[in-house]
Symmetry: D2
Subunit: 307 residues, 4 copies
């Protein structure tokens, strides 16, 4: 299979969707992104990354950061993380607070906002937000093989200023004793983690180990233990798209995580990792052209974990 041809063909397939959907507008820094952007990259077992369109332009990875934060939190505290956050699909939007009340401050899973706040608190230990953010950033820089990966400070500041709902979620969790660090310190880490900017190419490369049981397929280095990599994939499949996770599994059939910046990261176990980016979102908060591209991609390749 000619992967370079594939990524180009897929982008051609979905050219008609370019610019469709609604760009996330809750923070000014995201709303200003050009809605016509569309990029796709596929990282393969040999370390090659094939890209097309705007695959080299950094975008705000937003909730896709939750996948890597989850990995680091599990590395820090192991299975005790599950005392603080569940691993069931929420059946609710990303920022819902209803289940938090029913479940006494224990978020449903680490891939919704409340759960990601708890997750970064577990990376922090009893330490500072700055260290946790540095740890996430260093991890992504090393995985992407690019030390210039960084936080978009303008986005980070906007996130914090507009973060009423996330503040509400964090104080709620804290009211039940489920944060060990001060709420504003945890939020400071969370907002910065979401504001990391990466290109499709960088992000696909960074996630490659998740397709190979936790090992870097080029160097053979164990990035995380095999069972952990599998389980992160399982969580992405059941919980990676909020109340749209079932539909994504049904239509795309791959574990993945979406972000309101317009990025989507699916994993093809044993083959590689994919990142598509286009800022216009569908009603469920997933990139509209991005999801269309992934549908075309799996139709063309037959990729699915279910066969």
């Amino acid at each position: 299979m000619d992967i370079q041809q594939l990524v180009e063909d897929v982008l051609n397939d979905v050219e008609v969707y370019r610019g469709h959907g609604e760009v996330a507008s809750y923070i000014p820094a995201l709303a200003r992104v050009n809605p016509k952007k569309l990029g796709l990259a596929i990282a393969c077992k040999d370390g090659q990354v094939y890209g097309a369109g705007d695959a080299d332009e950094p975008f705000s990875i937003q909730s896709i950061s939750k996948v890597f934060a989850l990995n680091l939190a599990l590395d820090h505290v192991g299975a005790s993380l599950w005392n603080h956050v569940g691993r069931e699909p929420s059946g609710s939007p990303f920022n819902s607070i209803v289940q938090l009340e029913q479940e006494k401050g224990k978020p449903r899973n680490p891939l919704i906002n409340a759960g990601a706040i708890v997750t970064v608190d577990n990376i922090m230990g009893d330490g500072a937000a700055d260290e946790a953010v540095a740890e996430i950033l260093d991890f992504l820089r090393e995985r992407a093989g690019d030390p210039t990966v960084d936080i978009d400070q303008e986005v980070a500041i906007s996130e914090s200023q507009a973060g009423y709902l996330n503040r509400s979620l964090a104080y709620f969790v804290s009211a039940f004793g489920n944060l060990r660090n001060p709420v504003e310190e945890v939020l400071s880490a969370y907002f910065r983690q979401c504001a990391i900017a990466m290109s499709c190419r960088q992000l696909a490369k960074a996630a490659l180990y998740l397709a190979f049981d936790g090992k870097d397929p080029v160097s053979g280095e164990e990035i995380t233990i095999a069972s952990r990599a599998r389980r992160i994939n399982a969580l992405m499949l059941t919980c990676g798209h909020y109340d749209n996770s079932g539909d994504f599994a049904y239509r795309i059939g791959l574990p993945g995580k979406s972000g309101v910046g317009g990025g989507i990261l699916p994993i093809v176990p044993g083959f590689g990792s994919i990142v598509v980016w286009s800022p216009g979102l569908n009603a469920a908060g997933t990139s509209l052209a991005g999801a269309a591209a992934l549908e075309r991609l799996v139709e063309r390749t037959g990729w699915s974990v279910f066969v």
Copy 2:
């Protein structure tokens, strides 16, 4: 890999769990089952079925029937089924009515009770319950290669007599115009579908096509179209265990469906199908020894869709 040895070893591994958990007691016919029963069967690509323990004793397949009913309903009405039932995880117990109200009578997915009631209504068309039941039964007999597969009439009668919650769900759905047939007629089909009795061996064989993109791997016959088989697997992975689906995906990593009769059916795409049966249930309504056996099985084999 010596599969016969494997099934025997796995049952030895979990001997300590035999008889643990609570046997479903809401209907007398289920409550009388011997809690010490434990069986395991694996059907492979070549059609061979390897069994151990009580793998030849018929048990009430209960909600596992929903998988096959879903397939038949999709064969009948295609994607229009999704106008009547969603495909998102519910995040709620199998018999919850809360979401039904919030979502105006459209059940979350076809693998919870309300969704399965809508599903069998779509098999019925405008016809009789008897025909829909016969269709499901014929499908399972043919797939299992055993014309003696049948409904346990005592269980079916008990289901109907004790079926207050299911009646409530069905009338609720009907209040929103989401059943085309009379409520009691639909329930009559649903209760009988749940009361089908099969052995681990029969059921594993019957489900084998789901591991091979909808084709019988022995005869090559297309039982259902490839995309449909994949999507049924996707629904099992995200929704197959009610509010325990995320945990099952996390721990077992395979698409599967559990029933309160104590059976669990996981699919290993490209390899085969598994059925484990033990009547004692954990708090989430899944077979306790059965889930333990599956955990040991995937540890021993490395089977997972996430690698």
Copy 3:
């Protein structure tokens, strides 16, 4: 105060609202009622009943029947009724099932549908629906001083045929063991109770004892004990209008009960009882012209329990 003049003036005040709102359409027999109907009656301490407009035309009292059924159930089983139904406002529409699940089959109060179904079950004891219906009917006939008060059989049959949601509620309650009689038998009583037809004049007269601590103010006969009459008024004030009860208390300031037939029954403790009827309903299912008439009435008279 010239009460006859008052009732006529109030109807003139709201002439502009005559025919506004939506007539209940869920059953054909109700949908056929002339939307222009508008009647008002006030029964006073001396037994005089003053009426105007369509005050002598029978209408379907619907949920107003719940007030009298509550009284009879309390007479039958006393405070043990509260083991089966609560006495808190629901904050939800009349037919909501969400709280029923959260509260394990115990309806919030006797004035929502699920609670009224439990209430009539407690009138039935272990007896027949026919006897319970006869008891309610006899009570209303005697209170109204008119043996011709009767059930509108066409409405009763329609209620049953269209009663999917009520069936769902009743089966749900029954699933939690909270009905002692068979579901269909209880529903048969409930549907007939709701289909009783009375005029404003008859209904105001029938409810007069609730304004006088349970005593018929003319004969001095104790219809129910004083504390019970007060408490029924309390329940009407907090729960009499579903999720509109707070607004009714705020705007009208009197205990009352509305029905989807367009009737509203408020009580003026120490003075008398009021019935207004007009079939067009507002968004909350309360008579639009009826509520307007009551607002004008309390403005003109200063009647309120809060002064």
Copy 4:
């Protein structure tokens, strides 16, 4: 009626309950209060206030402050307050956030925490928290005729430090644009308002105008317009005790407001105002001995708005 004898008799009646229940422990300053305290005061039309027990000892009025803040907010912004907060019973605990999400940041009523936060925001206008607090305090000082009424600063600081849930509620409301002032500024006013300390005698005197259609019955001065006073009473009756409001109306039959400091303020329209205080709370967060005293009081007097 000898009111002084009455208050003493009622306290004797409930001596057995003294010290029962759980003292609010969520803030240290409240938890330190002597659980044996028990006081009762009744203010009458002629301005006389009769007290017994610990009726002269200041306690933390907590949520009882919401009644006066509601009055002041209505004086400031009139009916436009209802664009920001509803007036329906919540059917939920005082600090529930579930309905806030369902109703998009508009709290159910001004007597639950979220609603009271919105209410004080409407007293603030676009001004400072200090001014709003001063306004509430001045109002209570003048009504109580005692310029020494003040905020318990230790309680206020504790409230703020322990106020995770209230912070969560406030940020949630703010996320929907339903606060005009900065969240922390509004909370600063809310926490201090709740920390006002008054004795039974002072508080009963301060609330007397609510029993007389908004007029001070001694001076004849109009404290608020008549319809407003009635409506505040209506809101107390339907919403004054969170998810226990229906039960309070059923058992006591008077409009009232309770606070977690152990105080309860009922109004007897046309007669006077009552304050009972005892720190031990029942499961619903209402003073246990206090509610018992009120039950005895209405049994002895027959006071009820429903007769």
